[in-house]
Symmetry: C2
Subunit: 882 residues, 2 copies
């Protein structure tokens, strides 16, 4: 079996397609060689060897034979001899896995140096200092990687310590200030360190060096940071790493040498043209060591014009060949360019969009590929203001990045103050322990919301994302003292009225006013979204509760509203009183009287939304939250309300107490309200259909879809749907209009999913409310998960936050069952999702796979969803370089 793949002089045994075996680096070295691009010769030991080595603990004899043969070929093509005294062959030994794991595994350079060959290197390069510096680096790297000598002593790395002592003794400030003699002495000392730690001298036999290095690189696949990295990036643990053994080239042999890194396009903006840095007369390591500042890559044109021209040519070849922007490393040795690595370059989302669209223009990729090339999750960075990356300001707390964007404003500690200050023209940031629906008007008024408690799907987070408003939640370091009207954080006292800045993209909270930048989605963005829309099968709707939200949703390309929550409409100043009057009413008559006051307001809301969504469907969810959410809590507020409603204070207190619930999430809410108080459902249905008629009379095309929440049993849906349909028919008859409407249900309880076949018989559509479905399936309150869910994610008990990315195994299984059995009894069933997951790319891929008709998400996530839906539709192209 072939384990070792040679490459040299324009011919390689491997290709770019062999990433599984050769790893990313090795595959691309082979590919470049085949393309005639100057690459130092070498060979790659395949990744499967790594796994067999890790299992058996020894290198198979067959592998050893193939490595020996490859080294002989390497000697032949370089004309040098491994361990040879006159013209020694030196090699680098590097890891290289299928997926890039930068810095996670080990590298050894200058392998092949020993007490003899170092002298030959000194001679051949006429640079004794360079030769001994290379040798001491080898010993240090080898000691560390192969023998594990680092941090073993309490005093830190013994090699570093020896180097520092010598520098101190010589009064040398930098490594480079030490002359050759000192480095010779250091080599001797380093060898002593190895002897002391291992009981054996530093191996002089280059073959012993080579085998040790190869095994150490293989072992590094299992070091702690590599394992953690793979967990984090979901890279399988059984891939193993390849090992690249490559002839050394040196960029530090004089002014005609140098080293550099470059992107073939600007990774920040996507602009065409080489972008990078060059350091003359230096090795890659020196850049890291900070000896000199590198120069912009353009300067290389004047220093080494020939090599620079060659680099431009190579860059263009690589881009055209790999059909993507490349991140390359190179060295110029005595005027000659060598490519050491090429890979797809990391880029900002702005650059990703521009490059993808440009590459289509250049005929290198098609539109489907362009759509694949942009990380959908990052897309909404393009739509929100950001903290200026150059800004410096004191971070006083860090919380969870609940809703992206950034904002600057004065601290306010309650919703009423927020509204008052905002009305007087102040930019304010609402800071709360946590928010409740009572705070809604303050959240509307504020530029950003900051809470000390709650997770990524707490009330604050969900509502803020819905509004596209910057939000940081769960900033645990915040200690609120509402009495004193201030909060403490990081030893600072911030009073109400003080300026702070909040970055909802990263979760940071800054003291004072931080400059913001406002990214503008350019024409490339619009082009890409157009392509995405042509490719996707899933419809994309938005969750929107107001005409403003609806308008924004349309601007972002939403094709309807998938979730219009009606309860927020009740929190307006004039409305909450009528709502409370209804709740306090003693009987259906009293409730009906209060509901009559709410009817015209709701109708007006719906009319505004229908106008904005002209021609598109609007799914309106009937009242969902428990009634106690609308009532005040403290005794003063209760007293005030009692006065306003003209009821006894004691009686009202009893009502508030009676309505309080142990687990409101599982309490008297959703359709349970509509069933115990059918007059609420009737009023809402009337408001919807009267508004629909009003809109239709204005020439607006309306498609109301009435959604019954929290159904567990088909009988609940049947009875609610009966009320809705009978009110609808009555209104339409009175108005003499025909309006197409449908009645369906949220599937947000496991029982609804389990009995979907029956429920679908009474439903025109299903909309998966994956927030609540996740809560009930996991038995996990998102408001309370903050005390253990972060630990679960950290400890790897859960790979993802199930409130962010749909839990395919559990919740997803319920969804799949429900879709299948629902369509069985009702083939015309329309099925969508309106939970937070509707804006999450991985969850959208799942929705595509199980055949949903649409996803619905916050307006700001609509572009993300459009792109993710397209990506799900085009799938992963074979051989995509990602």
């Amino acid at each position: 079996m072939k384990h070792v793949y040679f490459f040299a002089q324009g011919r390689a045994e491997g290709t770019a397609a062999m990433r599984d075996v050769l790893g990313g680096k090795g595959a691309n070295l082979a590919e470049m060689t085949n393309l005639g691009i100057p690459v130092p010769p070498g060979f790659t030991i395949g990744a499967p060897v790594c796994m067999s080595y890790l299992q058996s603990g020894t290198l198979p004899e067959e592998v050893k034979q193939q490595v020996t043969a490859a080294m002989a070929r390497l000697e032949e093509v370089t004309g040098k001899k491994f361990g040879g005294g006159d013209n020694p062959l030196l090699v680098s030994v590097r890891s290289g896995a299928k997926f890039s794991m930068p810095g996670m595994m080990d590298t050894i350079l200058n392998l092949g140096l020993n007490d003899r060959t170092v002298e030959a290197l000194a001679r051949n390069t006429s640079n004794r200092r360079f030769a001994y510096d290379s040798y001491r680096r080898l010993i240090q790297m080898y000691g560390s990687v192969v023998f594990g000598i680092k941090g073993a002593d309490a005093e830190g790395d013994p090699f570093d310590r020896a180097l520092e002592e010598l520098k101190r003794a010589r009064g040398a400030e930098r490594d480079i200030d030490l002359p050759a003699e000192d480095l010779e002495r250091l080599v001797a000392e380093f060898k002593q360190i190895v002897l002391r730690h291992t009981g054996s001298p530093f191996p002089q036999d280059p073959w012993e060096q080579l085998w040790g290095a190869i095994e150490a690189v293989f072992r590094s696949w299992e070091n702690r940071r590599a394992v953690e990295y793979r967990k984090l990036h979901r890279i399988p643990h059984d891939l193993g790493t390849a090992v690249n053994v490559v002839a050394m080239v040196y960029g530090n042999l004089g002014e005609d040498s140098g080293t550099g890194v470059a992107f073939t396009r600007n990774p920040s903006t996507g602009e065409r043209g080489l972008f990078g840095e060059f350091l003359p007369n230096a090795q890659g390591e020196d850049v890291v060591a900070g000896i000199r500042d590198p120069e912009p890559i353009e300067k290389m044109g004047s220093r080494l014009p020939q090599a620079y021209q060659e680099l431009l040519r190579v860059a263009s070849t690589l881009e055209r060949h790999f059909r993507d922007m490349q991140d390359i490393e190179f060295t110029v040795e005595r005027g000659k360019l060598f490519l050491l690595q090429t890979r797809a370059g990391k880029r900002t989302v702005q650059a990703a969009v521009r490059i993808a669209v440009d590459l289509v223009g250049e005929g290198l990729i098609d539109r489907a590929e362009a759509v694949r090339r942009v990380d959908a999750d990052q897309l909404d960075q393009l739509l929100h203001p950001m903290v200026d990356p150059r800004a410096t300001a004191e971070v006083i707390a860090t919380g969870l990045p609940a809703s992206p964007g950034a904002a600057v404003g004065r601290v306010v500690l309650d919703a009423d103050t927020a509204v008052r200050s905002a009305e007087s023209g102040e930019a304010v940031i609402l800071v709360r322990r946590e928010t409740s629906p009572d705070d809604f008007h303050g959240m509307v008024a504020a530029k950003a919301i900051l809470t000390a408690r709650g997770g990524l799907t707490s009330h604050a987070a969900v509502v803020a994302r819905g509004m596209g408003k910057c939000c940081v939640v769960g900033a645990k370091d915040l200690e609120l003292d509402e009495g004193a009207r201030l909060f403490r954080a990081n030893g600072r006292v911030v009073r109400e009225g003080d300026w702070i800045s909040v970055d909802g993209t990263t979760g940071r909270v800054f003291l004072g006013r931080v400059p913001l930048v406002d990214p503008e989605p350019g024409p490339e963005f619009l082009r890409l979204m157009e392509w995405a829309d042509q490719l996707r099968l899933l419809r994309v709707r938005a969750n929107a509760d107001t005409p403003e939200d609806a308008r924004r949703a349309r601007q972002f390309g939403a094709e309807g509203i998938g979730l219009c929550r009606t309860e927020h409409m009740f929190f307006g100043e004039d409305r909450i009183m009528a709502m409370r009057e209804m709740i306090v009413a003693q009987n259906a008559e009293g409730r009906r009287k209060a509901l009559e006051k709410l009817l015209p307001m709701q109708r007006q809301d719906f009319l505004g939304i229908f106008r904005e969504m002209n021609g598109f469907p609007v799914t309106i969810r009937l009242l969902d939250p428990p009634l106690h959410e609308f009532l005040p809590r403290g005794p003063e507020e209760i007293a005030r309300l009692a006065g306003a409603l003209g009821v006894g204070e004691e009686e009202l207190t009893r009502t508030v107490e009676r309505l309080a619930e142990a687990n409101p999430m599982l309490g008297h809410r959703g359709c349970r309200l509509g069933i115990t108080y059918p007059e609420i459902t009737a009023m809402q249905a009337r408001a919807i259909f009267e508004a629909a008629c009003d809109a239709a009379e204005e020439g607006v095309e309306v498609h109301p879809e009435v959604m019954v929440p929290l159904v567990a049993h088909v009988e609940e849906l049947q009875r609610q749907a009966e009320i809705v349909r009978s009110v609808a028919e009555e209104v339409l008859r009175q108005r003499g209009r025909r309006v197409e409407y449908s009645v369906g249900t949220m599937i947000e309880l496991p029982r609804a999913a389990l009995t979907a076949e029956q429920i679908a018989g009474a439903a025109d559509f299903f909309s998966f409310g994956t927030n609540d479905l996740t809560q009930t399936t996991f038995g996990l309150s998102r408001d309370d998960a903050g005390s253990f869910l972060p630990h679960y994610l950290e400890a790897g008990i859960l790979a993802d936050d199930p409130f962010q990315t749909l839990d395919v195994e559990g919740v997803g299984r319920l969804i799949e069952m429900a879709v299948q059995s629902g369509r069985k009894s009702n083939p015309a069933l329309k099925v969508g999702i309106c939970g937070e997951h509707g804006g999450d790319p991985r969850s959208i891929a799942f929705c595509h796979r199980v055949g949903l008709n649409y996803v619905s998400c916050s307006p700001f996530r609509v572009p993300v969803a459009r792109l993710a839906a397209a990506q799900a539709a085009v799938g992963t192209a074979s051989g995509a370089d990602k």
Copy 2:
């Protein structure tokens, strides 16, 4: 097709096996006829005709022909003529469905009377009064049943009104005081009423009468009260009713006539011997009208010795034939006995047990049938004290019957007072708005628990049932005023210290001390349970948290503990402080210190339980409730605790606030505690295995099963099981003992059920926690369901309370999936259920069907479960008369 089944003179076309067609009454009339038992001749129109009539609205011609032919045969065998002038044939027309629906449908007697035949009847019976009374009854019944004349007028039934007016005019007190002439006049008036209401005269054609009566009886299948009754008793709506047309016999033709009802054994005690009542010279109706008090059946022996001997003979024949105690109706017409009906008699559970066991002794039924004959659900009436049925006392409130039995005691309004009073020897009843784990010690001390809020599965209800303690919950009329140390109910003020009585079997609360009776399960009960144990496949365990519970469980026949909750152990006076110390601790070290104090106490608890359960498995659930349940709430209590623990009051307040949860049911509890605080799991494991070793050293056979609660993801179980196993192995190694143990998990979250295949790979057993599984599957908090669940049940949205009877469609589907997929990956998996449903017969039948290994329930429900498990195993015998 045959629609009409004739019976007369010892030959019937039907049999008892034809209940589907003939209904219960008709089938048994046929059967009795075939047995040679004297039954008036007649015929039955099959129930399928009912459904076709209800669909088409007309009687099929074929049916009419068969009825006409049957009437001709009836004329032949009786020697009378239908509508005939000299010797008229009179018939009764009665409904009779497959399942008895007493009083739900309609009956018409004396059919065939008209202006001519009434005279013949008067002549033949020499009783003009009797004849006209029969005629006016026919008109009234016919008017009401066929023409719907009743309550149509605002003034009530016009027939009744006319009769009352006549009596007033005559000064007659009773109907019977009216002479024949008045009754003739009444007949004339009744005919006028019919004419006025229908526009047509009362039909003189007996055939017209007959067809009208048959159709009316068919229609009565769909009257409101019949439909409601079927809903309540889960009788299908598409069965229809048969119609029985039977020649009239009269018990009111003189002193040699009479009527009676009798049970073939005592329906209260099960004692052998005829038990019933006889009314000489009377019709069945007269008993209802209360004209005279009936006599004990024995008296009939002296009045009508021949008929009585015949009755004893018939009763014995019927019992032997139907192999069950019978409830019979009969009439003696001029010395001749006629059986009008026989059916299996209703009986108390005491009687049911005795009769079933006696019938086996008499060789009439086998043991499996005996087991089938007793309603398992009623069995625990035998095990609790009851309110003396003869007692009269003021009911001041009625709540939900949460835990059966009855108790008398003085009112106490908090747990501490309960304990103090109980310690001083008082019988107390703890009255609370609702209970929390904080009240546990008070619940232990009280004779009964009464709450104003909460449902049948609220904390109070669950804990009380677990303790077998009388409990009434959700007594809404109770208005508690803890400040004034009293409650108000039904206009009464009851102060702390006043006597009340509570009936947990019916939900009633009495003022003062009500006498109780203490039913003693007799030898028949023990015999029956023995047979049940031989027949059942399901094992029956108990949920028990203390050695006392464990002992009681064994007494009731439990074969192990299926759920030992460890949290109750932490509420003891000395323990709660250590528990609180642990919760308040700042780090793992502090927690470990506090846990060390709890360790010996827990170990002692487990040792006590292991001793009681010698030889049987004990499933111990690790700590489950959220930690805040252990902390005080009010500021005073917090201050006191802060002092006791030596921490700042403010700091403790913050801890309490920090631990508070929006939805504790879905919060930081179950294995989430063990995962964030692994030291808790380690301590509990240590206590379990040290206790196991201690017990083993005493010669006790121990089988600990450690159960990890609230698992949603296999990874949670894996990590907790790892801790348990490593502590177990360490303890066993230290003690040099081998103890067989297993580690498994509660399946109480939908996600666990959905991913059971994975979870089973890490579990030795599953125990379905159906309380929480129902809560999460339905999204329904049992503590909060009181505000809408009763309405759901009343309105028929749900057929059963899902917390009482397992919801087979939803929750059951999850269980079935989990059992199947769990056993797929782990064929040795042991599977049980430990929710409240483990003691519910219908749920136990489900558990049997899906192949569980055991059910576990409160100790007092163990006999119920044993019997129900046997019933599930023997199934329903074909032709069982139930």
